[in-house]
């Protein structure tokens, strides 16, 4: 375990600043114009992430629309997180890691049984976090869609073979997202221990919301 680095969140008035323990869930309303900083405190910790329009949750993050619009499967600075109606929800304004995944989706007890075997059934998983945390906002099973995996590395080989491989993140790296409309942001601090997405050792992340100073 590496030493935690203090969250170098975006400048401005701090609206909330929370450390999300390993394997836990987090959510918040992020108002239009506010910045959400996700800090990978210990390195190589996947953060499964979904965004919903706070005023109409049927409008939610769409991995396909986001990929379509930017012509690339990896997310980084400049990536606009688009909704299923092709409207902007959030924009990546800073990324000190380099690239992030939005193809691999969330781990679940169910898919773990396929990927690793039924012995994993009792393990915690991201879909459990999304369901539990989402229900606090009136969201349910029908509202879960393909998500973003901050700090997760999923290359696609020439023949289409893809997989979650060793991460490229490090302690203290951060992603800063600007809310383009009022959104509900949902995070599952990934509990997966069967692949390298969390370095086989899930750890804490920092979630900081700031209100930029008036310019």
């Amino acid at each position: 375990m590496t030493t935690a680095v203090t969250s170098p969140y975006a400048a401005g008035r701090v609206v909330s600043d929370e450390t999300v323990p390993a394997r836990a869930a987090w959510s918040a309303i992020v108002r239009r114009g506010q910045l959400l900083t996700i800090t990978d405190l210990h390195g190589n910790q996947a953060g499964d992430f979904l965004v919903y329009d706070a005023h109409d949750t049927s409008v939610r993050y769409s991995a396909p629309d986001t990929i379509q619009a930017q012509g690339n499967i990896f997310l980084t600075t400049g990536s606009v997180l688009l909704s299923n109606e092709h409207t902007p929800l959030m924009t990546v304004v800073e990324d000190t890691c380099g690239r992030h995944d939005t193809v691999g989706g969330a781990c679940s007890k169910e898919s773990n049984s396929l990927r690793y075997g039924h012995h994993t059934w009792s393990q915690h998983a991201c879909v459990e976090n999304f369901l539990a945390e989402g229900s606090r906002h009136g969201l349910g099973k029908r509202d879960l869609v393909s998500n973003i995996n901050w700090y997760m590395n999923v290359p696609v080989e020439k023949d289409g073979t893809l997989g979650i491989v060793d991460g490229i993140s490090a302690p203290g790296l951060k992603v800063v997202l600007r809310a383009d409309t009022d959104v509900i942001a949902l995070l599952s601090n990934c509990p997966q221990i069967n692949n390298p997405c969390n370095g086989f050792d899930p750890s804490a992340v920092q979630m900081t919301i700031t209100e930029p100073d008036e310019s």
Binding site: A63, E85, E110, P155
Partner: protein, 280 residues
Amino acid sequence: MATASVTASAYGARDHARAQEGTTVDAMPVLPASSWPTPPEGTAAEDIVWAETVAGGNYTHKVLARGTEVRLTDLSGDACAHVLLFSADRPWERLNAADTVKVLWNAYLGAGHLLLSDQGRVLASITEDTSGRHDALTGTSTLARNVERYGDGTPQSASPAGRELFKLAALKNGLAPRDLPPSVSFFQGVRIAEDGTTEFTGSAGAGKAVTLRAEQDVTVLLANVPHPLDPSPAYTCGCLEVLAYRARPTAAGDALWDATPEGRRAFLNTAEYLTARGIA
């Protein structure tokens, strides 16, 4: 004095409507499906359960029994079949495009690929594919993007968006827009470069076909609209032939059942669910 309109009375309107029977157009369902003139080789006409040609810019939907095979054929070489699948009587279990590529370790759909639900089960398997040009990553078109690209994207326009048509198909099955997850599409290919760039590879040509086998009772929603990455400035989409017929679900001992360890466990999960419900 003007001649009286033939539809001026209820009798006349009825005669006028009934005179339309027997009209044929390029895109229409054929009923009974068993009257389809060219059954697939090895399939008896009476086993055909769904025969329809879907126009470009249109959609269709059907509830299919487990063990039914659906053959989709791109008649013109510029069709694009956008597909969503739901467990027929439990629609909150539905196609999960992310699990479909992740669990099976491949981003590209083709023969032998399983279309997985979010519950670790198989909704349908791809049993045959003569196209090889498909996409599980970039979804379908939206109203906003079609307005930007073609000037309109509403269902009644000349350039309907895939998501708008999916909404209609969903609503007719008691579902709502929030029930629509990312879809997959057939007949217009997308490849991913090493740096993550999406590359549109387009069609493999007219007459290419893909066959899906329902591995549990499924609701199929299908929109035939241009691929969202199709660079053509014109909204171009040809007719799609849909032919479904009774076959049998994949069973233990079949090559497909054991093709991969992940797929085998997906079939096992599906069988366990069906057995517990007393279905199989």
